[in-house]
């Protein structure tokens, strides 16, 4: 009986993780694409020095950061993947979203400052809740760069 209950809880968590995780992911990707389109003209480059047309612009540090958590379904798939090795693709989409969202937030900050571009963009990442016990891990992605503000 215990086993059945445990299995039931496991399957319920798995289903919840899958449906809500999947829905959230699709919704997030839609939003990401929308905002990327909107901010397409606010150029983000990794060049360390400003291009000639921006030499008279003011500069300011802008940053955007995101903390994402993995859902139960993804951890289960990742745990299974751990047994055989290979790409943990269920985490890849998560981090892809986090990266792009961080850039978007940075761009939004730059936009509010009246910037034309953000140069010298860099990424940082760190684990938030650690892997203490069986806790689900969260990861922070930080994007920062130098906003070139119109004079």
């Amino acid at each position: 009986m215990d086993v059945i209950i445990q299995l039931g809880v496991f399957l319920l968590l798995l289903a919840l993780g899958y449906f809500f995780g999947r829905r959230a992911e699709q919704k997030h990707y839609r939003s990401i694409r929308e905002r990327e389109d909107r901010l397409r003209s606010l150029v983000v480059i990794s060049e360390r020095f400003p291009p000639p047309e921006l030499l008279r612009h003011g500069t300011q540090l802008v940053s955007g950061n995101v903390v994402v958590s993995v859902d139960y379904f993804k951890t289960v798939v990742a745990a299974l993947r751990n047994l055989v090795g290979g790409n943990i693709s269920s985490y890849e989409s998560l981090l892809d979203r986090a990266r792009r969202e961080a850039v978007l937030r940075m761009q939004e900050e730059a936009e509010s400052l009246g910037a034309d571009a953000v140069i010298n963009i860099k990424f940082e990442t760190s684990r938030v809740s650690g892997n203490a016990g069986q806790a689900l891990g969260s990861v922070e992605v930080l994007a920062y760069g130098t906003a070139m503000i119109r004079p």
Binding site: I45, E47, P51, E53, K74, V76, V77, R99
Partner: protein
């Protein structure tokens, strides 16, 4: 270098695949289940063969339930002197048994001698058995069927041999061996399921040893008896007594799972005949003798030899005796 007109559109599906994660999950889970199923299949097919290689410490995990049950039985038995006497005899036999290797391993390595526990059950039926966790049980009823210490020693030696030859774990069913292995593999210390199954399955007493196991245990017991006493006198006492009273009603574990008492008796007699040394038998310890006398009197089928052991020891109890 000049500033680009705008950010490029990031092509999808490079950094994150668009494949449905359910598909990956199905593949992985399917492969894992298949692998597990194959593992279980192989394990269950080889359970019988595997059993003797299961370390004794694993067996002890499973025998907790048996231990608890036997401890509760011990409390009911108030006869401390008799138990002490049985313990003493058993410990001496056990010490001698360590000189006889099991296969090519020293006996102490197969089952540590300190793990053995000997119990005297206040059961009128003549019976003795060995079960999981190196528990050896002898009923008081059995004491009425042996005349000397040597006769009792043969029975105890037989049970010690069962334990040292790992027969209890070997005769566990396939499912039990699987559960045992899984409980160790998964590291679960909670053996309630296993214990419950053991208790409900009546495995405590009903581990049925095969004829080969019995004969192997007999052989080892004879060797042990020889090592301990230097002769084999009295080895056939219990079997002779049971052989004489075998009438169906007395058809109990110690004999019933032993399909051919006569054949075993023949083996024992053969060994006894081959042994040249003859020495007088030792008397039963006093505490056990009292019980033996009691039991011999109250037994429905009186064994005349046992009654002779202490003539007149059945005051008032003679009424329900069916004398010879």
């Amino acid at each position: 270098m000049s500033l680009p007109g705008g950010n490029p559109r990031i092509p999808e599906g490079i950094n994150a695949s668009e494949e449905n994660p359910l598909l990956e999950f199905a593949w992985l889970a399917g492969a894992l289940l298949l692998g597990l199923a194959a593992f279980v299949l192989v394990l269950s097919l080889s359970a019988r063969w595997l059993a003797p290689f299961i370390p004794f410490s694993w067996e002890q995990r499973a025998s907790a339930a048996v231990d608890v049950f036997l401890d509760s039985q011990d409390v009911q038995d108030a006869n401390a002197a008799a138990r002490a006497a049985l313990d003493e005899l058993s410990a001496a036999l056990l010490q001698s048994s360590l000189r006889l290797p099991v296969g090519d391993r020293p006996a102490a390595e197969v089952v540590p001698p300190q793990a053995f526990r000997f119990h005297l059950l206040s059961n009128p039926q003549p019976n003795a058995f060995a079960t999981l966790g190196a528990n050896v049980l002898v009923t008081e009823g059995l004491l009425g069927h042996v005349r000397s210490e040597n006769g009792l020693a043969m029975v105890i030696a037989h049970e010690i041999a069962h334990v040292q030859l790992r027969h209890p774990v070997e005769s566990l069913g396939r499912g039990m061996v699987l559960q045992l292995v899984f409980s160790v593999v998964t590291g679960s210390t909670d053996n309630s399921a296993l214990g419950g199954a053991l208790a409900s399955g009546g495995l405590l007493t009903l581990l049925s040893f095969s004829r080969d196991m019995e004969l192997a245990a007999d052989r080892r017991a004879l060797a042990l008896l020889g090592a301990h006493y230097g002769h084999l006198g009295g080895a056939d006492e219990f079997f002779e007594s049971m052989d004489a009273t075998e009438d169906g009603a007395q058809w109990l574990e110690f004999v019933s799972t032993h399909p051919a008492t006569e054949r075993r008796l023949a083996l024992i007699r053969q060994a006894m005949a081959a042994a040249t040394v003859q020495q007088p038998l030792r008397e039963l310890p006093a505490a056990l003798q009292n019980i033996a006398a009691d039991r011999a009197c109250s037994a429905e089928v009186a064994v005349d030899d046992a009654a002779q052991l202490s003539p007149g020891a059945c005051p008032g109890g003679g009424g329900n005796q069916s004398g010879p």
